[in-house]
């Protein structure tokens, strides 16, 4: 009796080709959609860039005003610090998605680092002029593979401590970023290339073992008096 399969064969052939084309179209659409999302993100990065520029100017202005204005009028930096924290999160996402070597990411990171340094200087200036007393932690990490096995843990512990103690200001820096201001900060603060590195209220600490041990790096009265002032939390460690 058999065979008589030509209609079946032609249907199968036609459908397999059609299915292949549709599958490729779906996959192409998914790739396009993912890329489109990334592009949208990149477009948002431009907004981020503008925001960073504005914030940097704002900090600069506050520093300038500090010379003539009363402390009561100048010391409210909460809103700005919160913005800096949000920007840090967005930048961290961009870095995860586009890669640490992406030109735009590096440029943003440079700007962000500058903003952080200026905010840090403002805080120090406020401390001197207006006698505010926030606890400041400078955190230096490295994205070079294998150079900082404990940086993820350190970042997480700092995020936790920042959340638990709003009085804590954390400034995270990629030690290897090619930025003159950062290199100057590293030189001024005498931070050695051992990671993770911390400068907490002027005291240098290197390495991270346990959170309990890490907490001993903070001033003795820090955990007892965590009244809310302002915060800057950044987690741009990859």
């Amino acid at each position: 009796m058999p065979p008589s399969k030509s209609p079946v064969r032609s249907l199968a052939f036609r459908n397999s080709i059609l299915a292949l084309l549709i599958t490729l179209f779906i996959i192409g659409s998914v790739i396009y959609a993912v890329n489109y999302l990334d592009q949208q993100r990149v477009a948002q990065l431009s907004a981020l860039q503008n925001q960073l520029a504005t914030d940097t100017l704002s900090v600069e202005t506050q520093l300038a005003l500090l010379e003539s204005a009363p402390c009561d009028d100048i010391s409210d930096t909460d809103t700005l610090s919160q913005e800096v924290s949000t920007l840090g999160g967005q930048l961290s996402t961009a870095e995860s998605r586009l890669g640490a070597n992406d030109a735009q990411v590096i440029q943003l990171k440079d700007q962000y680092t500058l903003l952080e340094i200026r905010d840090y200087l403002l805080v120090k200036q406020l401390e001197t002029t207006c006698h505010t007393k926030p606890t400041v932690a400078l955190y230096f990490y490295s994205n070079v593979p294998g150079s900082c096995t404990d940086c993820d843990r350190a970042s997480y512990a700092l995020s936790y401590l920042h959340q638990a103690n709003p009085n804590l200001r954390v400034y995270s820096f990629d030690y290897n970023l090619d930025l003159g201001a950062l290199k100057t900060l590293i030189a001024v603060e005498k931070v050695q290339p051992k990671f993770p590195a911390f400068v907490i209220d002027g005291t240098h600490t290197y390495g991270f073992t346990t959170i309990a041990d890490f907490e001993t790096s903070f001033p003795k009265d820090f955990f007892a008096t965590s009244t809310a002032t302002s915060t800057t939390a950044t987690t741009t460690k990859k």
């Binding site: 009796m1 058999p2 065979p3 008589s4 399969k5 209609p7 079946v8 064969r9 249907l11 199968a12 459908n15 397999s16 059609l18 299915a19 292949l20 549709i22 599958t23 779906i26 996959i27 998914v30 790739i31 959609a33 993912v34 999302l37 993100r41 999160g89 967005q90 961290s92 996402t93 995860s96 998605r97 993820d152 843990r153 997480y156 512990a157 936790y160 959340q163 638990a164 346990t210 959170i211 309990a212």
Partner: protein, 412 residues
């Protein structure tokens, strides 16, 4: 190396197969099959019920056969007791005297010997069917099946098989899976891609059985072997999407794994040993170029993706434990939802996996609609989508291991 790259080829093939099914479902020949009316002609048919220790279900099975909408003088029922050690013989003997039913007791020799013994008795039937003794048929199922044989090239016809009264989560999950099978078989029949004629209510043209021979042991997959033998002989296997048959399924995970290990090992052994020549052979069309190779890839892919998932999850869990050590759990376990996190999760793999999962669910719904199978599917679909994937790798790994080591397992 990014381990998720290993998932790409399997995702592509999985999506391609789903799209192929969907395109074929929408094709005219498949639509014509859906619209094919039940047969009004009533050729002589015989239904063989091979039994081994089925005392609890055989009675219901026979009653459902007797309730079939088919002339009594054209329907012969052959009950074959394959050396049962329980009360199956007694239940069967209660039907002696019914003119439609023939009862045969024989020494235990395996399911294929029981079916062959029944075929010997039903020698004057034009079509012969099998029904496992734990399955029950809808009254119109036989007329639906018989309508498939109008084309003389059709050697066998498969039914729309689903789970008998699914109540537990495991039963509902398998019910959804069986419904997917209904849609898949319906579609594959249009391109002659069916590779198994399941035990519950598949029918065969008697002349073809005489031509190519009866059932064989075939690594405990006699229904698959018969289908492959018919395909090799150049015949076609049809499907009757409204010929509803309900079967009982394993009620525990170990029993499910055991059953599926038997099926999968049977598939692997038949396809890699006796029917190797069909795989990748253009002569056998979709069966040779798509269904059999993808069946094999699905086994390998299922194992690889599972191992991959275990490695990735274990790595993430260990990393999270390492990173969060010392930080209070109240902080670690608190939800840290952010739009940034949502955005990061929208990757190529997750989107494609989502599309493939949606296509599977769509096919389950299609299967239910096409076959008019009763019972709610919501819980079953949830189980099918979220749980079955964690159980299946166990029978896939076990089957691969049995294939490689040559391990033989008992039926039950």
């Amino acid at each position: 190396m990014d381990l998720t790259l290993l998932a790409y080829p399997f995702l592509f093939l999985g999506l391609y197969f789903q799209v192929f099914l969907l395109v074929t479902f929408l094709s005219t020949p498949t639509r014509e099959r859906r619209e094919r009316p039940a047969s009004i002609v009533t050729p002589k048919v015989a239904i063989i019920v091979p039994c081994w220790n089925e005392q609890d279900t055989i009675d219901g099975t026979v009653k459902s056969l007797l309730a079939l909408d088919y002339p009594k003088d054209k329907l012969q029922i052959v009950l074959v007791n394959d050396g049962s050690t329980d009360n199956t013989q007694m239940v069967m003997d209660s039907y002696i005297g019914n003119p439609q039913i023939t009862v045969l007791h024989k020494e235990n020799g395996g399911k294929h010997t029981a079916i062959n013994a029944g075929i010997e008795i039903a020698h004057d039937a034009e079509f012969v069917g099998c029904l496992d003794a734990d399955s029950f048929v809808a009254p119109d199922a036989l007329r639906e099946i018989v309508s498939c044989f109008e084309d003389p090239h059709v050697a066998a016809a498969t039914p729309a098989m689903s789970v008998f009264e699914p109540h537990t989560f495991l039963e509902r999950m398998q019910h959804a899976e069986y419904i997917f099978g209904i849609a898949a078989r319906h579609v594959l029949s249009a391109v002659n891609g069916i590779y198994v004629t399941p035990g519950p209510f598949s029918f065969y043209r008697m002349s073809v059985i005489r031509e190519i021979g009866g059932f064989r042991h075939a690594h405990q997959a006699e229904d698959m072997e018969m289908a492959l033998r018919m395909q090799r002989a150049g015949y076609e296997i049809e499907n009757a999407p409204r010929a509803r048959v309900y079967t009982k399924v394993p009620l525990t995970i170990p029993k499910l794994v055991k059953q599926r290990t038997r099926w999968t090992t049977g598939f692997l052994r038949n396809v890699t040993i006796e029917y190797r020549d069909l795989v990748g052979n253009p002569k056998y069309g979709v069966l040779g170029l798509l269904v059999l190779p993808l069946g094999f890839v699905a086994v390998i892919g299922g194992v690889i993706l599972f191992v991959l998932a275990i490695v990735v999850v274990a790595h993430d869990v260990l990393k999270t434990y390492f990173i969060t050590q010392g930080v209070p759990l109240s902080y670690t376990l608190a939800p840290h939802f952010s739009l940034e996190g949502l955005y990061l999760s929208l990757s190529f793999v997750t989107i494609l996996s989502f599309i493939t999962a949606i296509a599977s669910v769509a096919f389950i719904i299609i299967g239910k609609r096409v076959s008019n199978t009763p019972h709610n599917l919501t819980i079953g679909i949830i189980g099918y989508a979220l749980v079955l994937g964690f159980i299946a790798p166990f029978w896939l790994m076990r089957s691969l291991s049995d294939l490689i080591t040559g391990t033989k397992r008992k039926w039950r």
